[in-house]
Amino acid sequence: MQPTVEVSFAALQARSLRSQDGKLVKLDGTHEFEATRERVYQSLVNAEVLQRCIPGCERLERTGENTFSATIRTSVGSIKGVFDGNVRLEDLREPEHFRIVVEGKGAPGFLKGSGDLDLEQDGAITRVKYAGDVQVGGTIASVGQRMIQGTAKMMATQFFTCLGAAAKPEAGEPPP
């Protein structure tokens, strides 16, 4: 009998996803910006910037002081779909911390997530630490689960890279 690498891998993934206290995907990381903490914070809570930087975001409208409604087109592996949902910002302590809560539903299933973002100023650099988890259901969970972690990580990187550009001071602006 040959080693069963692909089989074991699938089973291993299922187990690692399962063992995380009911949350399918944990997401954490650090991203650095060449901008002041205030500026990064403002970008992070700016609807226009968020719409531009959230991958696949087709619509983001403010519905309240700290709430937005959004439409996001996304794909996990072969599963593509449109999610309609809400984004809520909580626990705002400008410029060092806020919490983001996302809920979306669409044909491929649903997603629910929340995360804490902490901003630290280190000289000319602002470091954003993020930690959260995402729960998905439906086709994405049953078909795309092996890709979720990678996709989520990729989307986070895209988001922060875009945000970094947005937070960078324009030419002629005062240095951060």
């Binding site: 009998m1 040959q2 080693p3 069963t4 089989v7 074991s8 699938a10 089973a11 291993l12 993934q13 299922a14 187990r15 690692s16 996803l17 399962r18 063992s19 206290d21 009911g22 399918l24 779909g81 539903k105 044909a107 299933g109 649903f110 729960q135 998905v136 259901g137 439906g138 086709t139 969970a141 049953s142 078909v143 689960q145 092996r146």
Partner: protein, 805 residues
């Protein structure tokens, strides 16, 4: 033509059409104007439905209709046949109404002119769900705490049941030794090669509905679907064309089957639904799903004195046809192949937000065999004894049958020691143990597992079955001498078109090519029960056999009349009725050659039989005479056919010994089979090739359960093994060569002496495989591992890494 077909490796007459791609499965049946159905299924495990907006779907070109729960309220509930005392039975509608209870729960059905339009429209239906707390933990459900799935029941306990004989408390109180082990049987997906499928066609003029369905039980389905959708049963025809495997998953009546029939009656068009593989894993029943504590009391010399199994059965959100009954089969088989004076099972069946569990190849018996065999290994380990010898010590002797068990059964016949001896001899057991010592000394990780199973087959006496346990057969000889057999069983891979023809051809002295076995059409075949529970040959084959005997009684009377002899003087031998020698002097003399060779009569007309002056008549000649009806004895009905409904007086109890030998790669934890020996005793064998095939398939599915397969729901009830990328079914490369042999202990329960073998592999093999892996890892202190045992688990044990296990 061999003198006897029974016992020969006759090639399957089914195979040419299958191999050439000429067989017809449900999806191969194309009726003009067929509409296609696709389902909206819940992606929540538990949620309230606030509203369903179907408007966008109805705008899709090609979409004809969309039905939701409230549209189909008149369709009766999906049936559950398990009638246990105090059983809670939720109202299982064909489409969800106010709540969804599991991922995959059908919420709406879209009907369109093609499959693609239907599927696209599914995505446009907006269901406003309000998610509810999810129940996935069976122990919490069994404790009666946590959120409640079916609110009116108050908790998630569907039933509790205790069974067994003997004084179990006394057995444990007086025990010299005991072992106890918690054992998981993970949920498995049956994964028939052909998923489910239904084609329904209503004929409004005749007011008749035909359902083509990939099922194991066409007649039971006809009865149940007729009741569900309110069509007279004699206006409903169920046809099972070729069925690409069932393994119990098609021993059921599903919501989709009734719904498709109903939709065709609404729209007056043929409608078809073919299950996708994703739907198959979500919404076709799962197997197993038990967790329990097995406890054994025994003496210092290894004699078993008591066995107790406290088990929680994960039933899922709803009962399908036999859901609650499956764990009771576990209880029946807890005596295994052993003399155990006191046995008790305590079952708690619980609702969870998952698909229903039900019969999957073995259906409750693999669980029993597995816990008993694991317990015997633990007893052997506790006594530092050889596991084979502990088993041998507790076997009833071959002269002790019928053997009464403390689970209330009477085993029909057996010689357990003979099967163990034979398997040990083939495996070279003593030498293997020596090799193991040597291998261990060299740092290799090698293990030997032994399983001596007994199983319950030929389901079964009607008193023990929810819908009758008999089976029917009609044997008919057509005017041209061709033999037609109608069986109430519904073969779907087992090969009974061949094996039943073997039985009939032998009994009638005709070529097997002249026998056609017809099954799976309720308009053609008299009522039958179907194919499951390793019953088709032992019950259905017996019905065929007895029907032939009845037919031959009539043929003999006609032969005696034509031969002008007393019936007592006529005998059947070598395919001919002839007057016995003692009476020969009084019989007319003449040619004994047939007047015309069968099949070569004059074209366009039946030949006139020339029976004058004959001493012998073939069955074909008698059939012609019976149909022409010019020369029949007085008061004899024309035609030559007989029907028999066989009611078995007991189950049958096949048994055997499986021995697995594995070696584990220290670097990777990979488990490699060195040997796999199986000696099975399924009574008298009609076709050894078919038996081998059944054993092969069963062992492969056991390898799947032991090493790869597990349906995984996360804590939110999301199915995360939703495709064959994630649900690991073994492939050819995962399977060793099997060394198969048999002992043959006929069953006294039926005149054929057959027992059944359809599930032996899934019952006998898992404990041998797990036993071998555990034995290999014994030097690392391992006494038990739960299935599926993956290289990852094994590697961590070898490397003493307990993280994430």
């Amino acid at each position: 033509m061999p003198t006897s077909y029974v016992g020969q490796r006759v090639r399957r007459t089914e195979d040419p059409r299958l191999i050439k791609g000429l067989a017809h499965y449900v999806d191969d049946i194309a009726l003009p104007g067929t509409l296609h159905v696709a389902f909206v299924r819940s992606y929540y495990a538990h949620a309230k439905i606030n509203s369903i907006d179907t408007s966008a779907a109805l705008d899709v070109p090609g979409v004809v209709a969309v039905y939701t729960g409230k549209d189909v309220a008149k369709i009766g509930p999906v049936p559950c046949a398990g009638a246990l005392p105090g059983l809670k039975v939720p109202d299982h509608r064909v489409l969800a109404t106010d709540k969804v209870y599991f991922v995959g729960h059908p919420v709406a059905a879209v009907v369109a002119t093609d499959r693609y339009a239907a599927r696209d429209a599914v995505d446009l239906i907006v269901v406003d769900y309000e998610d509810l707390p999810v129940v996935t933990d069976v122990e919490q459900a069994a404790a009666g705490t946590g959120p409640v799935i079916h609110e009116s029941f108050g908790d998630n306990i569907a039933y509790k049941m205790t069974a067994g004989e003997g004084d179990i408390d006394a057995a444990f109180a007086a025990a010299e030794r005991t072992v106890k082990q918690r054992i998981w049987h993970k949920r498995l997906a049956p994964i028939a090669m052909e998923p489910r499928g239904v084609l329904a066609r209503y004929f409004p003029g005749e007011e008749e509905l035909t359902l083509w369905s990939s099922t194991q039980i066409p007649h039971l389905m006809r009865t149940q679907v007729a009741l569900m959708i309110g069509i007279p049963e004699n206006k409903l025809r169920v046809i099972t064309p070729e069925v690409g495997g069932g393994f119990g998953s098609k021993l059921n009546v599903y919501a989709e089957e009734a719904l498709l029939g109903w939709i065709s009656m609404q729209l007056h068009k043929p409608v078809k639904w073919i299950e996708t593989r994703r739907e198959n894993i979500q919404a076709t029943i799962h197997g197993r799903g038990q967790v329990g504590d097995i406890e054994v009391a025994f003496k210092n010399d290894g004699t078993l004195t008591g066995l107790r199994y406290n088990v929680i059965a994960d039933l899922g959100a709803y009962h399908q046809l036999l859901t609650p009954a499956i764990p009771t089969l576990t209880g029946l088989m807890l005596s295994g192949a052993y003399r155990i004076p006191a046995i008790q099972i305590n079952i708690t069946g619980v609702f969870t937000n998952k698909m229903a569990t039900d019969a999957y190849r073995g259906a409750g018996r693999p669980e029993a065999t597995y816990v008993v065999e694991r317990a015997l290994d633990l007893v052997a380990a506790d006594l530092n004894a050889d596991p084979a010898e502990v088993r041998r010590k507790n076997f009833p002797g071959k002269d002790e049958f019928p053997f009464h068990t403390a689970t209330g059964l009477d085993y029909d016949s057996g010689d357990y020691e003979a099967a163990l001896d034979k398997a040990q001899q083939i495996a070279g057991y003593t030498q293997l143990r020596e090799e193991q010592k040597k291998a261990r000394a060299e740092g290799k990780i090698m293990g030997i597992g032994v399983s001596t199973y007994v199983e319950i087959c030929a389901l079964g006496p009607s008193t023990a079955m929810p819908a009758g346990g008999w089976e029917s057969a009609t044997v008919r000889i057509e005017p041209t001498g061709k033999v037609t057999v109608l069986t109430g069983t519904s073969p779907h891979g087992q090969g009974q078109e061949t094996s039943f023809a073997q039985i009939v051809a032998d009994e009638l002295g005709v070529s097997i090519n002249d026998v056609t076995v017809i099954h799976g059409d309720t308009s053609v075949v008299q009522y039958g029960i179907g194919t499951f529970g390793s019953r088709a040959t032992a019950v259905g084959g017996t019905a065929v056999y007895v029907a032939v005997q009845k037919l031959k009684e009539k043929a003999e009377k006609i032969a005696a009349h034509i031969l002008k002899a007393d019936a007592s003087k006529v005998s059947f031998e070598g395919g001919k009725y002839s007057v016995t020698k003692a009476a020969g002097a009084t019989a007319a003399t003449g040619s004994s050659e047939p007047v015309y060779p069968v099949g070569q009569g004059p074209a366009g007309a039946l030949p006139e039989p020339q029976t004058e002056g004959r001493t012998g008549l073939t069955i074909a000649e008698i059939a012609l005479a019976a149909h022409l009806a010019k020369e029949l004895p007085p008061d004899t009905e024309p035609g030559l056919s007989a029907t028999y409904f066989f009611e078995p007086k007991n189950f049958t109890f096949p048994f055997g010994t499986h021995i697995a030998v594995v070696e584990i790669d220290r670097e990777t934890g990979d488990i490699k089979f060195l040997r796999y020996v199986a000696v099975d005793d399924c009574g008298r064998v009609i076709n050894p090739m078919l038996v081998d095939g059944q054993v092969h398939g069963g062992i492969v599915q056991s390898i799947g359960q032991a090493m790869y397969e597990e349906v995984v729901y996360d804590e939110q009830g999301q199915l995360i093994t939703g495709t064959l990328m994630d649900y690991a079914v073994p492939r050819a490369k995962h399977v060793p060569n099997f060394e198969l042999d048999r002992t043959e202990t006929p069953s006294p329960v039926n005149p054929l002496g057959v027992k059944g073998v359809g599930e032996a592999g899934t019952i006998g093999a898992t404990p041998a495989i797990v036993g071998a892996i555990v034995d290999a890892l014994a030097p690392f202190g391992v006494k038990h591992l739960d299935m599926p045992i993956k290289p990852e688990d094994v590697w961590r044990i070898i490397n003493n890494d307990s993280s994430r296990i």
